[in-house]
């Protein structure tokens, strides 16, 4: 528990001092995008890293959250209410879909979640009267009663605080009997069930929780950029999210944050390589996973512990 407090403190301090190193709006923008991805990844890591259940469709939930905010605020709904509505809709959908598909295992679960995500993104792309179709749609600023979040700096603090809250939530959850039950499901579903863990219920619960976090992050992202497009709900975005989780290190909340930040920043750095960008990104991803198969943070932790002995 003391370690969790240290992690949280480290993160909060890091977020608080980072602006001193952010010279202009572009850097703030990258930091905000990294923070939004990190929120999704911390939730997704509860599902993938701790419970051992893959999802290749979480961008669908992210997209639904974003579009719920875009569409509802378009009809004059206050932004926080639209955000809450998006979260409730996505939570209900995840509970509904999760019941049958979480019975599937391994690659079959990957297939079903992938299918679900793709269906969501196709619906968003096709129903253009509501969603603006492939061109996307504009989103009103996030605000209430005449006050609103404007500019990169304000958004930086909103996203930073949201991330700290999400990480606190995840750390608390994992350090509890609920977290232990989730990890037990990862270790052996049979033994967990025999020890009285209602496996189906817990899987559904963590699936819904991670989906709701993705939806909330989607809402924030939509309001921040003032624009949503179907790509945010698409297959490639789902893959990016899973990659961030695995890259940072599965079953490590801080790892999920680190993975999200690095894989958001890296493509920005690689843009100087122009045509070589994709090539380098692919090579770095492969190389890191080959050298550090457990992901960045768990590997570094092991090295650190060995160095101290």
């Amino acid at each position: 528990m003391r370690r969790d407090t240290a992690v949280l403190l480290l993160l909060a301090v890091g977020i608080a001092v980072l602006p001193f190193a952010l010279p202009n709006r572009y850097f703030y923008d990258v930091a905000i995008l990294a923070g939004i991805n990190a929120i999704v990844c911390v939730g997704l890591n509860l599902l993938i890293g701790y419970t051992g259940q893959i999802s290749l469709g979480h961008a669908g939930f992210f997209g639904l959250g974003a579009y719920a905010s875009a569409i509802l605020t378009g009809y004059g709904c206050p932004a926080p209410a639209a955000m809450a509505a998006g979260a409730v809709i996505v939570g209900a959908l995840a509970a509904l879909v999760g019941r049958p598909i979480l019975r599937l295992k391994g690659h079959y679960l990957a297939m079903a979640t992938l299918g679900m995500g793709i269906i969501i993104s196709i619906v968003i792309t096709t129903e253009d009267r509501v969603t603006g179709g492939p061109d996307g749609m504009a989103v009103a600023p996030f605000g209430l009663l005449g006050w609103s979040v404007q500019g990169e700096e304000a958004w930086y603090w909103v996203i930073g605080a949201s991330l700290v809250a999400t990480v606190a939530l995840a750390l608390n959850l994992i350090a509890s009997p609920v977290g232990r039950a989730l990890r037990a499901i990862h270790g052996s579903e049979t033994a967990a069930e025999v020890m009285g863990v209602d496996v189906a219920r817990y899987k559904r619960m963590v699936f819904v929780l991670s989906a709701v976090l993705a939806a909330l992050a989607g809402s924030l992202a939509a309001h921040y950029s003032g624009f949503v497009s179907p790509a945010k709900a698409g297959f490639m975005h789902s893959i990016e999210l899973v990659t961030m989780v695995v890259f940072g290190g599965m079953a490590s909340t801080l790892g999920a944050v680190v993975g999200a930040v690095l894989l958001t920043v890296l493509p920005q750095l690689l843009t100087v390589l122009k045509d070589y960008e994709l090539l380098m990104f692919g090579a770095l991803l492969m190389g890191t996973m080959i050298l550090m198969p457990r992901g960045l943070l768990p590997t570094l932790e092991t090295l650190w512990r060995r160095a101290r002995i």
Binding site: N172, A175, G187, T190, M195, V199
Partner: protein, 268 residues
């Protein structure tokens, strides 16, 4: 409903289970009185583990009825049976290798913990106190089953014999009324097996009913109050250890195979 003295701890009535054309358990019946150590023996493929899986809810019986402390529990999922006081260990270890040994045991106490999402996320203070208690309980339990040397170990770093005991500790953490042990001595050295026997008697003395599947005959004969012999899914004999030893059917089916194996070993 409190179990009266006339109540059986476990009652299996005419239970069958088919897998396609194969009848793994065929109309098996068995009554286990509270507080006894009941062994189930039989040659490989006799259906012992299948019967365990039927009792503990991992399989649904094709027909028949399972009663736990008088209540019909046929077809209930394992987690529901755990809530009614049943726990078990596994022939092929089902350890949570992604956790420490203590955490493994703590999962056994899952049903006694406050495992609600709300308190997990928003009441870390209250939870921390409960967790400290849960850790203390788990460590004490580990010491009781002879795992005092592994109190700070990761499950993945423990030797096979210790993992066998860890499964027993995890099962005991749920404070079961009925404990199913699937080959607890398999792969253990004779002294280790003997000490598992002592442990079983101690658990039974605390009032826990034990049903045991085991191939180590010395252990079975030494520890069991009653023995059921399965052969090809059917109950062949049911009685006290001395009755089973004297039963000619059992000698033919069970020991006969043993003798052939023994001869094969001699000639090898």
């Amino acid at each position: 409903m409190a179990p009266g003295p006339d109540l059986t701890a476990l009652s299996v009535r005419g239970v069958s289970r088919r897998f396609g054309g194969l009848v793994a358990v065929d109309n098996a019946s068995l009554d286990v009185a509270p507080g006894v150590v009941q062994a189930i023996i039989g040659p490989n493929g006799a259906g012992k583990t299948t019967l365990f899986n039927l009792i503990s809810g991992l399989y649904r019986p094709t027909q028949g009825e399972v009663r736990l402390l008088g209540e019909d529990v046929t077809g209930l999922p394992p987690s529901a049976l755990a809530r009614r006081g049943l726990s078990r260990t596994f022939q092929n270890l089902q350890i949570f290798f992604n956790m420490t040994a203590v955490e493994n045991v703590m999962v056994g106490a899952h049903l006694r913990s406050d495992a609600r999402l709300w308190s997990a996320i928003f009441r870390p203070g209250a939870r921390a106190r409960q967790e400290r208690e849960a850790i203390r309980d788990a460590r004490r339990l580990m010491e009781e089953v002879g795992l005092g040397a592994y109190l700070d170990a990761d499950a993945a770093a423990m030797p096979y014999g210790a993992l066998k005991r860890l499964e027993i500790a995890r099962a005991l953490a749920s404070r079961p009324k009925l404990l199913l042990l699937d080959e607890p001595a398999a792969g253990l050295t004779p002294p280790e097996a003997r000490s598992i026997g002592t442990l079983m008697r101690r658990i039974a003395a605390d009032g826990v009913t034990i049903v045991l599947v085991e191939h180590n005959m010395r252990l079975v004969m030494g520890v069991s109050d009653r023995i059921v012999v399965l052969d090809r899914g059917r109950v062949l004999a049911d009685g006290r250890a001395d009755e089973i030893r004297a039963n000619s059917d059992v000698a033919r089916v069970y020991l006969g195979k043993r003798m052939r194996t023994a001869r094969a070993v001699v000639h090898a």
